[in-house]
């Protein structure tokens, strides 16, 4: 093909760069069963570890008798806190500045807590040996309610007794972790006192779990000859894990190689450090053999990081006309037995202070109290940036509650309070600078797309039919306009355990014009190998198909903080563009030399540099790459590669408008989604097909959370939803069709204007589903009812409103 005959548009299309719905390159191996997950890793002489876990939520561990287990042939070791304590590894630091027991040190604080680690020749022997370890417990009073916990005499964390200062300031009670305050309390209270209208409500976002299909696991291999530890694991942040392992184990960082192989979904569950990782490392050091640990589904649900569990007491003030004047929120956050939230250090409640949402609210105040209870630790951002789903759910419920109080249409109430396009960059009352947005345009497009007025007319007719006894089904219209805050984040205010939250990309162009790029992030299904190659393709004019992408091996990839909080595109994607631009800058000099003109006399043209005013005189990127390696160019080093470490100047603020239309059977509590419309504005769109896929996946998780998924405990602290029979994961059967749509408002500070999209659908989806349920019952007097909206809870709403005669 003579590319001189191609138009610039055709040449651009051949690159499959940004904007192209390029098929996912990862799927070739995944659809053929050729993925390589942690449990696929098999090393010579590998041993298996398995945990003895506490059946009690709160108990003293009186004794652990290993004898019978050790007597079982094939059992190599049984580790307890006593064995780990000489190494100082019986406790480990959490991401939230607290510490957590690796193995029970005298007591247990939640059901499923790790008590002993059995190491055996195979996983079957290990499982048998777990049954043979005899643990004597003395049960203690259980606290499962955070409000009770703050009043109770029962001390959960005896190790912290007497400590009135926590990682985030003063502790008010022995079961209290921190108070975090944002905004202006006095001013907000003054606004509330003078307001025409104040709506007040408790909004609970229940405890749930990210439940990735692949559970957590690791394989540790300590080479006693080289002194080098290789640790494979389900890590969303492999580089951070390497540093943390080095800091807590004392092994030099260059002697640790962390590898995240293929990861079968993370959704925040694989950000933190777990006892299993530590125990596999210790067991490998002790035995000199590789040790694998992989948890099962029940262990995953009951012990590794949960999400949400926020009790959000809200007050929202407005004028009679509906202009919001103030927002007040007090959140009681149930963090379980240890504070292992995954949040940037300075944000113990994450970015909950994005809770003013899409609205121009001049005055606001937020306080969050973290509380210890007898539940599993965690508090991760389940497919969202830190605590952003909680914030979005809170404000989107408060708007609805206010609309009821004002007797206003909730769509109109939103419209008159949106931040206007000309107000960006917008300074929010709770401290953020929103980068860009055009909410009115998105909202109008969404309402028009679903024929909002027509839907309301349908609903009015349905109410008439219901009242006339012609139907037992109600119609709910769930509205949401969400604003996210993602892409953490600027090193000046975002770090985790002191590690700055920049990210990185290294690009190496090969002489024949193909390339390899390595990033500090790690895909868990997001399709990085597909989309980041597209960014490079557009930036440097080499086809995406000729660019290999690698992540997850700390020996080869540049340092970065990993993938969560929709940060890969905003941060590592920016690094990718910046590294590509460095390459292009060098390429420009090479091209100018080859064309025998001044550097400034060539200009970039899709996949080449051409002489200004003489487009027929050019050098393609392929030609330049060859010359970079093989031609002596005065003043230039050979080679063509670059690395960029990108510290973003600000977060990005994706937004969207979601509308859900739901049918609800008041007699059985059954529901059916009749229509779901999702408009996302994630700035520049890199791959529309991947965006659609992310939206489908995220809305489906949102459906699960809103409509049934929960980690529920009984009053003894037993997990009631520890299997997939009770923990709701929707199948294709329960999953509705989604209509996706978009507007494009690029981020002004991001090199390619992209904002991140993977988490928007969860953030926007949950309130859309929940608001649909509420909206169906609004005409009958419902103001607020807690999720999950499973059959019996919906039935209870109807029952409470007297709909069952």
């Amino acid at each position: 093909m003579n590319d001189q005959t191609l138009t610039p548009e055709e040449r651009a299309a051949n690159l499959k760069g940004m904007g192209c719905a390029r098929k996912r390159v990862e799927d070739v191996r995944f659809t053929q069963g050729k993925g390589n997950y942690v449990d696929d890793i098999k090393l010579d002489g590998m041993l298996f570890g398995d945990f003895v876990r506490s059946p009690y939520a709160h108990a003293r561990v009186v004794s652990v008798n290993k004898e019978a287990a050790l007597a079982l042939p094939g059992v190599i070791a049984v580790l307890t806190a006593e064995d780990l304590s000489p190494l100082g590894l019986h406790w480990m630091p959490t991401l939230a500045g607290d510490k957590q027991m690796v193995l029970a040190d005298g007591k247990v604080l939640f059901q499923g807590q790790e008590v002993a680690f059995v190491v055996a020749e195979d996983r079957y022997i290990a499982a048998d040996a777990v049954e043979l370890v005899e643990v004597e417990y003395e049960e203690l009073p259980v606290l499962t309610d955070p409000f009770e916990a703050l009043k109770s005499d029962v001390v959960l964390r005896e190790d912290l007794e007497g400590q009135t200062e926590g990682a985030h300031g003063p502790r008010k009670h022995h079961n209290h972790i921190f108070t975090w305050e944002q905004g202006d309390k006095d001013a907000t209270e003054a606004v509330l006192a003078e307001a025409d209208v104040v709506a007040e409500e408790m909004v609970y976002y229940h405890r749930t779990h990210p439940c990735p299909l692949e559970t957590c696991g690791s394989v540790a291999s300590m080479d006693k000859v080289t002194g080098k530890l290789t640790l494979y694991g389900t890590f969303q942040a492999p580089h951070a894990i390497r540093t943390v392992v080095s800091l807590i184990s004392g092994l030099a960082e260059h002697n640790i190689r962390v590898i995240s192989p293929d990861i079968g979904g993370g959704f925040g569950n694989k950000v933190g450090a777990y006892a299993g990782y530590v125990c596999s490392v210790v067991a490998s050091i002790v035995t000199g053999k590789p040790v694998k640990w992989v948890e099962d589904r029940m262990e995953n649900l009951m012990s590794t990081a949960f999400a949400r569990d926020y009790w959000m007491q809200g007050k929202i003030a407005a004028t009679k006309e509906g202009k919001i004047t103030g927002l007040w929120c007090h959140t009681t956050a149930d963090h379980g037995g240890f504070d292992a939230c995954a949040d940037p250090t300075k944000f113990p409640a994450g970015f909950m202070n994005i809770c003013t949402g899409s609205y121009d609210i001049p005055t606001a105040y937020l306080a969050v109290d973290g509380v210890y209870t007898n539940k599993a630790p965690g508090g991760v951002a389940y497919r969202c940036s830190f605590r952003v789903t909680e914030a979005a759910y809170f404000i989107e419920r408060m708007i609805e509650v206010l609309a009821i109080k004002l007797n206003m249409d909730a769509a109109e109430l939103r419209r008159i309070n949106f931040i206007k396009a000309n107000q960006f960059p917008y300074q929010s009352a709770l401290g953020w600078e929103y980068d860009s947005g055009d909410y009115h345009t998105a909202w109008d497009k969404a309402l028009k797309a679903v024929d909002y007025d027509g839907l309301r007319a349908d609903q009015a007719q349905r109410i008439e039919e219901f009242k006339a006894g012609k139907t037992r089904k109600l119609l709910g219209i769930g509205l949401t306009h969400f604003t996210e805050i993602v892409g953490a984040g600027p090193v000046k205010n975002c770090d985790i355990l002191g590690l700055g939250m920049f990210d990185s990309c290294e690009i190496r162009i090969h002489p024949t014009g193909s390339a390899i790029a390595r990033l500090g992030t790690i895909s868990q299904g997001q399709g990085h190998a597909t989309t980041f190659a597209q960014i490079i393709a557009s930036e440097i004019g080499l086809p995406a198909d000729d660019i290999t992408l690698e992540e997850g091996d700390t020996d080869t990839a540049p340092y970065g903080l990993g993938t969560y909080g929709s940060r890969s595109t905003p941060v590592a994607g920016a690094a990718t563009a910046m590294a590509a631009r460095k390459i292009r800058a060098k390429a420009q000099m090479i091209a100018a030399y080859l064309l025998e003109v001044h550097d400034n006399d060539v200009e970039w043209d899709v996949d080449r540099f051409a002489v200004k005013g003489a487009p027929e005189r050019f050098k393609t990127m392929k030609e330049i790459a060859f010359a970079a390696y093989n031609q002596a160019i005065p003043g230039l080093e050979p080679g063509l590669e670059a690395v960029s470490y990108y510290d973003p100047p600000n977060m990005t603020y994706p937004f969207g408008a979601y509308i859900c239309v739901m049918e609800i059977d008041v007699d059985t509590g059954e529901w059916e989604v009749r229509q779901f419309y999702a408009l996302d504005d994630c700035g520049t769109r890199i791959n529309p097909m991947i965006i659609d896929g992310q939206v489908h996946g995220g809305v489906t998780e949102a459906l699960a959370i809103a409509m049934g998924q929960e980690i529920a405990y009984d009053e003894m602290g037993n997990v009631k939803t520890g299997t997939l029979m009770d923990f709701f994961l929707p199948t294709a059967w329960e999953t509705p069709n989604y209509i996706t749509d978009y507007t494009v408002t690029p981020s002004p500070h991001h090199p390619i204007g992209a904002k991140g999209v993977g988490e928007s659908p969860n953030v926007g989806g949950v309130p859309a589903f929940s608001n649909a349920v509420h909206d169906a019952f609004r005409p009958f007097g419902l103001v607020q009812s807690h999720m999950p909206h499973d059959h019996w809870r919906i039935w209870k709403i109807a029952n409470g409103l007297g709909m069952h005669g």
């Binding site: 996983r123 079957y124 499982a127 048998d128 049954e131 099962d296 589904r297 029940m298 007699d667 059985t668 509590g669 059954e670 049934g708 529920a712 009631k720 939803t721 029979m725 009770d726 709701f728 929707p730 199948t731 059967w733 329960e734 499973d790 059959h791 019996w792 039935w795 209870k796 029952n799 069952h804």
Partner: protein, 277 residues
């Protein structure tokens, strides 16, 4: 999620299977599709030294459609119940109910015998069999005997079957033409057991009504059936509500379950009546 170790047996006929059960007593258990038993073994809630696999026993397979009676081998899969045309014509209720069990993957392997022998109040087939007034044929060391489905269930996981007996066949009288049948089940999602389910037959002046997962056994109510036979739907529903004893669990509180039970029953009745000749 790893079961304790066990010995695996694969006898080729009923007599040898019974022999193995006799030899190992409590230590042995038969396994059919394994889709109830294996999860319990993985949770180590069921532990046994010997598993007697019934897959290789030809006598336990096959569906026979006679003019008055249908017999199902215990090892007939739930999938076969759905795809067997003769069965769907003779007793359409079987197919309608089987389609509500679990998901296709479970149904390819799960058997009708395992479903009724298991004794789990969540299983759909026991209530259905009571509605149809089926008879279970058992073989044991002392020979063969028959037990009516309506007499088979004693409590959760306790049935009239002795440990050393094997359920071999199920026989069902074909309901006369003119009898309308319907199965209604509410569940939280695909693959879930019933929040409440109702099996109803009505027509020719007769009726039979049974419900699932609303007590520790399936509930067939003679009073409810009689009321319906006499055309008294409200009486039928209230008799059934008196007979069930749901307990609170993740599917919801007692009051809710009772309400759903009445809704399912009424829906099944309406549908069955619409199909009656």
């Amino acid at each position: 999620m790893i079961p304790a170790g066990f010995e695996y047996h694969r006898p080729g006929d009923i007599a040898s299977a019974i022999g193995i059960l006799q030899e190992h007593g409590d230590e042995a258990r038969v396994i059919a599709g394994g889709h109830s038993l294996i999860p319990m073994m993985k949770l180590r809630m069921a532990e046994m030294g010997h598993l007697v696999d019934l897959q290789a026993i030809e006598e336990l397979k096959g569906i026979e459609i006679g003019p008055d009676t249908v017999t199902l081998g215990a090892m007939v899969t739930q999938h076969e119940l759905i795809t067997h045309d003769g069965l769907s014509a003779a007793i359409p209720l079987m197919r309608e109910a089987a389609l509500q069990i679990a998901d296709p993957q479970v149904r390819y392997v799960g058997t009708v015998g395992g479903n009724v022998a298991n004794g789990d109040p969540g299983n759909d087939m026991p209530g259905l069999m009571q509605c149809l007034n089926a008879t279970f044929e058992l073989s044991g060391p002392d020979g063969n005997r028959s037990v009516a489905a309506r007499d088979f269930y004693e409590a959760a996981y306790f049935t009239a079957r002795e440990d050393e007996e094997i359920l071999t066949r199920i026989s069902i009288r074909v309901p006369g033409s003119g009898v309308g049948q319907a199965y209604e089940k509410q569940k939280r999602k695909i693959g879930d057991y019933a929040t409440a389910a109702a099996a109803v037959m009505v027509g020719n002046g007769t009726a039979s009504v049974a419900m699932t997962n609303l007590a520790d056994t399936p509930i067939w109510s003679g009073e409810a059936s009689n009321a319906l036979a006499g055309g008294d739907v409200d009486g039928c529903v209230s008799a059934m509500l008196d007979a069930i004893e749901p307990v609170e669990d993740n599917r919801g509180p007692v009051e809710f379950k009772k309400h759903v039970a009445s809704v399912m029953l009424r829906r099944a009745i309406t549908r069955a009546q619409s199909r009656a000749g």
